[in-house]
Amino acid sequence: MRAIDNAVGSLRETFRPDQVWPFLAPENNKVNVDKNIILYVEGLNLSFDGFKALNNLNLYVNDGELRCLIGANGAGKTTLMDVITGKTQCDSGTVYFGQTQNLLSKDEAQIAQLGIGRKFQKPTVFEEQTVFDNLELSLKTDKRVLPTLFSRLTPTQIDRIDEVLKIIGLAQQRFMLAGALSHGQKQWLEIGMLLASDPRLLLIDEPVAGMTPQETERTAELLTSLAGERTVIVVEHDMEFVRSIARTVTVLHQGSVLAEGTMDQIQNNKDVIEVYLGESEDGTATGEEV
């Protein structure tokens, strides 16, 4: 009798009228930032063949913040971005976007649709298509197959693309093939593609690599202007650049957070001087020479 009762009870529980089965529930793309924190990374571990790329890493990023990640090669900066954007699976730990979105259970496309944009270390744009098409593809639209097949460019979207073209300074190159752009312009186009998708969180990997000083300066201006409305995480080696944009800097070392604070605090932090600035002479050299 009790077994039957239990079975009926669990059946009732399964078919509760006030609830929807999880797989039938519409996908919820809302990001909850009530606590003013947009990204929660806790206890992240990842090892490649015994090498600990991420070692119990904890990181919290506030909504609207501009955060710089620095660290020596192999400190885990790019790996961390890979885990956040779904490219790499981690061994253990949690990554939440807002309070409700568990990023570890989603794939790259879903994460991108939630509003996390990523720029790669090496500029990757669609070289065989025009600058305009590159931006059109990145617009925030329904990206499933059928809606894309029947979609048409609306005037609002054209205006949005023009706006982005103006911001990234490629308005005159709009009908040029992206492959014909210079290296710096490609970097800009990639940033523009992120902007067109209207993301909440931007992950930017070495934005000024290979840029001229003027371009670097403009990039710094752009990134600073983005923060506030959006959250920006920048990985960069150029210490002068980091100093010019950063309010908060996080130093990674051997897969975990070594220090966090303003640039001045970081530069006076004993641990940091010991393992990062102290070890690599050229790191300090580039910092002072510019």
């Binding site: 990523r118 790669f120 098409d133 059109e136 593809l137 197959v145 894309t148 979609s151 054209i158």
Partner: protein, 388 residues
């Protein structure tokens, strides 16, 4: 406003040859049909029924090349197994034609095709039921290749198999199907395949009129599929496909489920190949497992490479030219054809990476650059002036 018109003119450049090409294709088809039917046999412009059938075969190959180009030229997926979809479409049509024979076979059995009686079978296998209905056969022509492509693509693209591994898998797919269809127990006529067809929808397959009609239908369907493909590939879907070809990771990171896109494009391509196969069988009069052979699938890739991959017109022209050359060559020196084919592939890869269409485009742009002020240089100059 000028911005809008600028945008639309830029969007149209890729498709500006579409309509002229369709008109030429249809005009030539109509000309060949009419000159066969109306002109006397001794006229210079008379096209013999033999040539009509041959041309019809070429058009089927062109359709197949279109299918290969859609997936290879636009999405970078080198399929070495498109012969499988072509042959499956062909078998579906062949089964219908087989059932149309009725009691006119050698054994005169109204219920069973000859080869089944030869094998001592007492009744029709389940998958032959209903194939005497034309509409069902046509559904199968589309459904079977499409379904196979869907299952194969779903498994392969979801597990992110790309590049040469995918090519090898497609090659294995067509090879496995060839071995399976060679077996008599499969119920598709084994080694001999399906042949000895009598008529289609009541029209005698041997008559000139039926052959001309089949040829004309092939031409129209080719034009139709060409236009549809061009439309699809110039939509935003097509742009995503190009994006996947050039930087798949980037496309994923801006939010596209690239595996879904690839699966659907693969299915579309397979369906075109199936339709090509279905049109091929009544014109050639036989379908056998040889159509599954890997070499056939590799040949298709060569047609596309010669014509110019990434341009649908190039694929069609390549298929027509290479097959015409094949007919000519195999008549003169049958043994040398494979060497010629191989040499063609090597030479095209080395010297004409964009194929014949690429050469044409180069010639046109050279001729254009001889006229002193080239339009693009002019516009940038004026933009600079206006900025200053």
């Amino acid at each position: 406003m000028s911005r809008l018109s600028q945008y639309f003119s830029a969007g149209r450049t890729s498709g500006k040859h579409t309509m002229p090409f369709v008109v030429i294709l249809l005009a030539l088809t109509a000309f060949a049909c009419l000159s066969n039917l109306l002109l006397p046999a001794d006229s210079v412009f008379h096209v013999s029924t033999y040539s009509i059938t041959l041309l019809g075969k070429y058009l089927c190959y062109a359709m197949l090349a279109l299918a290969v180009d859609i997936i290879w030229g636009y999405c970078g997926i080198l399929s070495l197994g498109h012969g499988a979809f072509f042959a499956l479409g062909g078998y579906a049509m062949g089964m219908y034609l087989m059932r149309q024979i009725g009691d006119r076979g050698v054994y005169g059995n109204p219920n069973l095709p000859d080869f089944m009686i030869f094998l001592g079978w007492k009744q029709l296998p389940w998958f032959w039921h209903g194939m005497d209905h034309f509409w069902l056969a046509m559904i199968m022509v589309v459904l079977v290749p499409g379904l196979l492509a869907f299952v194969f693509g779903w498994l392969a693209f979801r597990s992110r198999v790309t590049g040469v591994y995918l090519s090898i898998m497609t090659q294995a797919l067509t090879y496995a199907l060839m071995l399976a269809f060679f077996r008599n127990e499969m119920g598709f006529g084994g080694n001999n395949g399906l042949t000895d067809f009598k008529d289609i929808l009541g029209f005698d397959l041997q008559s000139d009129h039926t052959r001309v009609a089949l040829f004309a239908i092939t031409g129209v369907i080719l034009a139709l599929l060409f236009v549809i493909s061009q439309k699809i590939l110039s939509s935003r879907f097509g742009k995503v496909i190009l994006a996947i070809r050039d930087a798949e990771a980037r496309s994923r990171f801006i939010g596209y489920r690239t595996d879904h896109y690839k699966v659907w494009l693969f299915v579309f391509s397979a369906v075109i190949a199936g339709i090509a196969g279905a049109l091929y069988v009544p014109q050639v009069g036989i379908i056998n497992p040889g159509e599954f052979s890997p070499i056939n699938s590799i040949e298709m890739v060569i047609w596309v490479a010669v014509g110019g991959r990434g341009t649908l017109i190039g694929a069609i022209i390549g298929a027509l030219l290479v097959n015409y050359a094949k007919t000519r060559f195999t008549a003169i020196m049958p043994d040398a054809w494979l060497f010629a084919l191989g040499a063609m592939f090597v030479l095209v890869t080395l010297y004409l990476p964009k194929g014949l269409v690429g050469v044409y485009a180069q010639l046109m742009s050279k001729r254009g650059s001889k006229t002193p002020p080239t339009p693009p240089a002019n516009t940038t100059a004026s933009v600079k002036e206006s900025n200053a």
